[in-house]
Symmetry: C2
Subunit: 293 residues, 2 copies
Amino acid sequence: MLISVPATSANLGPGFDTLGVALDLRNVVRIKRSRFFSISIKGEGANNFKLKGNNLFISIFNEHYRKLTGKTDRFRFTFYNKIPLSRGLGSSSAVIVSAIAAAYAMAGVAISKEKILNLALTYEPHPDNITPAVMGGFTVSTVEDGKVYSLKKEMPSHLKAVVAVPNRPISTAHSRTRLPKRYPMADIVYNLSRSSLLTAAIFSERWDMLKIASKDRLHQDIRMKAMPELFELQKLALESGALMSTLSGSGSTFFSMSEEHHAQKLAEILKRRFNAFDVRVLDFDNKGLLIEE
Amino acid sequence: MLISVPATSANLGPGFDTLGVALDLRNVVRIKRSRFFSISIKGEGANNFKLKGNNLFISIFNEHYRKLTGKTDRFRFTFYNKIPLSRGLGSSSAVIVSAIAAAYAMAGVAISKEKILNLALTYEPHPDNITPAVMGGFTVSTVEDGKVYSLKKEMPSHLKAVVAVPNRPISTAHSRTRLPKRYPMADIVYNLSRSSLLTAAIFSERWDMLKIASKDRLHQDIRMKAMPELFELQKLALESGALMSTLSGSGSTFFSMSEEHHAQKLAEILKRRFNAFDVRVLDFDNKGLLIEE
């Protein structure tokens, strides 16, 4: 059994805890029944023994598998991880989603993507990464009574993501506690109107609107202060032809969108100036969670 | 020359100062060159002599006409007003938009709808009524450096608006000052996510999503306290098949959306319970401002 889940970029500027998009960069886990429990991690996190010992995937998988079957069977888990850890690209959402999907698949119990998404919400209270991780594409999500309500728009192939991954993280928890407790209406309307306009722009493919619609006043600047070179990176990206350029989740990765013909050029410009960053051109993903026998 | 502008319903629940929709209920003004200045008002406001004496339309019209022509010519203005005054249906936005459009038309100077919208913003600082008034349809707007950026989705003819107009107003100014100065992030995300999801739902015609996506935590309840029967009206509308039911602008009108086949029934249910309200079934308008020779 092969389970794979894409990387995701959340918030997209104004869309705090709401907007997200899936990127064609997948974590894959292969699961086989086995006489002995075993786990091996290749790629991102391969050398992180702390991660291996206390694996979030295994604990979520076991919880659901036991609930579904009443048993504790043994499996051989092999992780092929491509999503950078703790860089705002949805690696923990990918773990949560793949663990739930894997438990149902190995238990032989059919489950809808909607149900997987709602189960994932019990581990990750914000839907902005888990929704595109499960559904793929660009997604808009809200939560009502512990359930995710979301809509999806497939991203066209002529657009690419240019992600700039710094060599160190900004902690989500630390970053979230730095945000103000309360905001004035002017800032609220600033983001609410832009998040709505960004949604309209993507659903109607009005890419010319992204630059104005992707501006934020609630969280980005506060978070970017922990890594001030991101201000310069954002400015450079927007001046160099990016359609939009936003902090990915709570960082530290910066996400830019570009027309296909310009993406490689944009990546080179960013790479030249920020040579300690891992700059990559990625396709968008429209499939989300995949389960293969 | 005939200028006409539709009624509008703004906010639509979570989309504070951002979302709006145009309704097929038009204020029309007929303008003719004349030896004497004259003004007559038919329909809404016909008996309001204070309004006639200090007419917002005339002052905006004169300001622009003088600027465009250097002259103060004389006209005969006849207003055929259908939009109820001070009930949250965009009557003042209609006046502003039609006055600007009329000045340019009578001066013989071509002007785009985008430019009319940006001029209207100098009289009405929130774009949520003036955008659908000019453009028609469902609109999402934001303001950046004194300019409106907006996107529009045409409303399908199988949907109708059911508006319930109380026999008294809630003052906008009064209502706006009652709102809290600052809001916590939980309430912000509540509205930001729903305004974005409501936008996605309308752009992708997922009408089943409107009920969840149209909920608000920033302004409606506070404003509705000035007219408590509106809580009961909203509940009744949603229980009686409305796809969504929201305070229109800052009130006092309540706006509900319904499938065509159910709209008359919904209106009757509301009318029976709230017999002092003027309950009407309206088409949506997709044309916005119209200028006819």
